[in-house]
Subunit: 337 residues, 2 copies
Amino acid sequence: MAEDAPRATIASIAAEAGVSVPTVSKVLNGRPDVAPATRALVEEVIERHSYTRRGARGRSRSKLVELVFHELDAGWAAQIIRGVERVAAAERLGVVLSELGGAHRPRQEWLDDVFARGSMGVVFVLSEVDAGQRRQLLSRGVPFVVVDTAGEQPADVPTVGSANWSGGLAATRHLLSLGHRRIAVISGQPDVLCSRARVDGYRSALEEAGIAVDASLIRYGDFALEGGYRHGLELLGAADRPTAVFAGSDMQAVGLLRAARELRLRVPEDLSVVGYDDLPVAEWIGPALTTIRQPLGEMAATATRMLLALARGETLRNPRMDLAVELVVRGSTAPPE
Amino acid sequence: MAEDAPRATIASIAAEAGVSVPTVSKVLNGRPDVAPATRALVEEVIERHSYTRRGARGRSRSKLVELVFHELDAGWAAQIIRGVERVAAAERLGVVLSELGGAHRPRQEWLDDVFARGSMGVVFVLSEVDAGQRRQLLSRGVPFVVVDTAGEQPADVPTVGSANWSGGLAATRHLLSLGHRRIAVISGQPDVLCSRARVDGYRSALEEAGIAVDASLIRYGDFALEGGYRHGLELLGAADRPTAVFAGSDMQAVGLLRAARELRLRVPEDLSVVGYDDLPVAEWIGPALTTIRQPLGEMAATATRMLLALARGETLRNPRMDLAVELVVRGSTAPPE
């Protein structure tokens, strides 16, 4: 456990903060029995010295990995969970599941609990840590990987996503190839990277077809049913309504299909719809949904394998990767009448 | 840690099995470093004496609860997970999620891992333990609760379900009140209690209306999309097809709706459909689904609260309870034409 001379050690941090070595240990281990002011002081010294626990990966860790969702929505989350479970079960690791209730960043209590239970690492899904939290994870030697990152990540954060821009391109090219010219897009939140990448793929497809982008046809929401429905009513209720809509998720597409029904538009005769994700339900609804298949289970499995490699102290060859997506053509798209 | 004279202790078990006390401890704690034959011997002595670890609940346990699904299916599982998370998060407990890959009973390795990580207790969902596994959990002082039990449970196993029989009764009465006389039911597996209870509720409603039960209209499958589709094609393709179908889950109902579309039957004009569960998607598909709302989140939350009470050493006032269900009328049911 020898440290290079200029590097901070638990002892040097304790000395500098004017506390005992066990107190520094308690802070590192997420133990609750440290006064908040003492704790803040210790954290500050840890951060100032970019302290990283040496040998943390060699220490005895619980056989647990953490899986954190910003929000547990039905079908999408189930695919991810199964992908993580598959890899974890093979190594007999327990998967601790948390939901941030819609927030994209965990609270300090959650981090403390992760440290206290000695988890091997964390898979964040559409959620992430801020700089201070990242430092805390690093200083405790707890690796993490981000699946489907919501925001820009620092270069040293491993991420697994999918080819969102290509997905937007493929969906829009498909609609163009059927003869559609007035095509709308409903995406997720504009501050979420994958939403923007898909919209940019849509734009790019229109541009290569020589079609001017009409800003009124670009909508942002969340990836939920309601957004598809609400934007659908607006878009489809307009006099110059689009003949096709590329939705940001299969759930949004289901909401959009409802809006079309209420406006007595037939799909695909009066309106073509492309979804995103290819959840199991996409194949079964009426009409069966043309969609972009995201390999959600494989993204999750890949992230988990990366995490376990990091926990073993390995260096990742490809710490940032996007898996390919695929257009699946079903009954909800057709040439405009 | 005094034990009554006739009760087994770790020492008496070690003596009888002819092994050391630490070896018995290792077996109790799910540690892998015990030879299989030794282990089987120790388990047998533990079981023969109905040994229960005294004071186990007082021992230091990890702040973890286990949540075990026989299978993670999309929407249904998400509701359950959220219910467990809600209660666990309030007590800052981690939820370790496992899926048994369709099996209703966990493997020994899984039990060992639960003992090794010192979880406070287990919530089983549509899954259960056999008598030997139950003894193992009891002997280690790990309480468990079963949500939506698949099979008959011994009287001392706490369970939280919902009023399946009443749900079947309410769904069928609703269809009868609309004037339907030829009503089919598609339920889950016949060896799963909730499937049978719903079918019996259906039967009971027909009987009180003076309608003879036609065995060909009673179908069993699983609760998945495919079952609804397959049975739907058969039922609706027959010459004397039913005018209404009560499906065992919303997902089965989605499969059934597809079968109806393929056979060019309009819902609700030509066919009325009642689902079960009231998943978020039920309200959004076309037509919006009339269904029986199960309080899945509340069932899961209740089970978790029961588990935590058991882990604190409390005795449950109502160790077996069924929560009420509710008919939600939407667009998929109407009088027969």
